[in-house]
């Protein structure tokens, strides 16, 4: 029964994806000229035009980037989980210098990742790079504390389910404007004062969601490599 529901859900989602492509649902207007770009910045409330474009005017492309990343994570796990684990083999110890410096660096790296994700619409950064930087921070954390400890703590928070749920949430946020009778993939939340952290809440929300998604996905890839290719 569960299997049938899952299969039906997968088919429905693929049909929906095909539907978006085939019927070319109205997408919020793109920017082509200098004036349009300034207009875009005020419309979305994001002074960083790159964010305004990839999470505003071209959100459609970004959705598929998230999909590509999800597929990559699935691929790594699919191929590595079939290999015999090397986790029981003789561990290769880290040097003490590396452990000590990792201990100092990991909080800074995690905070930098958080900053990049939260302020992506104001300054260079964004969900993708923020998530990757935070994943590097998590990796430093692994070097100083140990992979197993981190894995246990994160699994306690149901992180793997979150990994599969987040793409759905991101799609839901993009479809949400329909409820307010606005075109799909446009700002789902009202725009505030430009240049302010909460000036463009929808871009902020998407950056946080994408950042989380990338962080968890990268962590799962890293953990699979740690477990099956050589331990930290």
């Amino acid at each position: 029964m569960k299997r049938i529901v899952r299969t039906a859900l997968a088919i429905a989602l693929s049909l929906a994806a095909c539907g978006i492509v085939i019927f070319n649902l109205p997408i919020s207007e793109g920017a082509t000229h200098q004036n349009d770009m300034t207009r875009l910045a005020t419309e979305t409330g994001a002074p960083n035009l790159v964010s305004a474009i990839y999470l505003g005017a071209r959100l459609y492309d970004t959705l598929f980037e998230v999909l590509v990343f999800t597929v990559a994570v699935i691929g790594v796990r699919f191929y590595l989980l079939r290999r015999p684990s090397t986790a029981r083999a003789t561990p290769i110890p880290e040097s003490h210098v590396l452990q000590a410096s990792a201990q100092i660096l990991y909080p800074l790296t995690l905070i930098l990742g958080l900053y990049l994700a939260l302020f992506g619409h104001l300054s260079p950064g964004g969900g993708f790079s923020g998530g990757v930087v935070a994943a590097s921070g998590l990796l430093l954390c692994v070097m100083s504390i140990g992979a197993e400890t981190i894995y246990r703590r994160l699994s306690g928070a149901g992180i793997e389910r979150l990994e599969w749920a987040l793409p759905m949430v991101i799609v839901a946020v993009c479809v949400l404007p329909v409820v307010f009778t606005r075109p799909i993939l446009s700002n789902s939340l009202p725009v505030g004062q430009a240049g302010h952290v909460f000036g463009s809440p929808s871009i902020l929300l998407l950056n946080i969601l994408i950042g989380l998604k990338v962080l968890i996905g990268s962590w799962m890839v890293l953990y699979a490599f740690i477990l099956y290719r050589g331990e930290i």
Binding site: P124, G125, S129, S136, L139, S218, L222, F225, R229
Partner: protein, 267 residues
């Protein structure tokens, strides 16, 4: 402008250098450096968003994933017990004939040589678990079926040691079962000898020469006549590695460098 040009010129240079590295780790680090310079180039071309992403993904995450991926495959993991002259730890460094052979072999394969000391009796078990690639350290007997023995690099013989008082005739030898009877660490063997704790044992020539520096006047020494040779043992499914190593030893013998190594370490 100049810095842009310098960085752009630097990119193909770094790419070329990392492409021609024999050692895998150096190649991976070269790639990380390439990403870093590329990120700087993006920054100078007013694309800070792309630069941040390139630095985070190319220089940090991908490098780490590659390092993890080659962590085991990028090194030649050798396990063996210490034997003076063949594989011994002196002042924090491994020296000996076998170390020289393995170091040259690892360099040829572009791998990092990593030697772990283990008791003689555990070497075969570790190899059977595929926890190491090669076994070394004065291995002169035929290994179990799944392990692969390389070409012999040094002839040796077995020596039987009995107390002087034991006047039984020289024991019958059988080439298939006779092997070095000691299975612990070499240092324990020397200590056991000094404290006179051993009753009767069979040792190979290199181990015997090392312990014979202590007083062995109270022992009867019989040399078993079957000729033997020291060789390396490769883990299961590493037959290809064994063949490469045998070919490498052949080559060393042909150009005379094997004799040089033996003369240098075994006077």
């Amino acid at each position: 402008m100049i810095s842009r040009a310098v960085l752009l010129l630097l990119l193909p240079v770094i790419a070329g250098v990392s492409l021609f590295q024999r050692r895998r780790l150096s190649a991976v680090i070269g790639m990380g450096l390439f990403s870093l310079v590329l990120a700087a180039t993006y920054l100078l071309h007013s694309a800070p968003d792309v630069a941040v992403t390139e630095a985070a993904i190319g220089a940090a995450l991908v490098t780490v994933i590659y390092v993890l991926a080659i962590r085991r495959t990028g090194r030649l993991l050798v396990v063996g017990d210490e034997v003076p002259g063949l594989l011994a730890l002196e002042g924090g460094e491994f020296v000996g004939v076998e170390v020289d052979i393995l170091a040259g072999f690892a360099r040829r394969l572009g791998l990092d040589l990593s030697i772990q000391i283990a008791p003689l009796g555990d070497v075969e078990a570790i190899l059977l678990h595929s926890d190491a690639d090669l076994g070394a350290g004065g291995l002169s007997s035929e290994p179990p079926a799944r392990l692969h023995r390389s070409r012999e690099h040094l002839p040796t013989a077995l020596v039987r040691l009995r107390p002087q008082a034991d006047d039984r005739p020289t024991p019958q030898e059988s080439p298939t079962t006779d092997r070095c009877e000691y299975s612990g660490y070499f240092s324990d063997l020397v200590e056991a000898f000094q404290r006179n704790e051993l009753i009767e044992t069979t040792l190979d020539m290199a181990r015997f020469l090392a312990v014979s520096r202590t007083d062995i006047s109270s022992w009867r020494v019989d040399r078993l006549s079957t000729p033997r040779g020291y060789a390396f043992i490769a883990a299961p499914r590493r037959r290809g590695l064994r063949d490469q190593l045998s070919a490498y030893i052949d080559e060393l013998e042909r150009d005379g460098s094997l004799d040089d190594m033996i003369r240098r370490h075994l006077p």
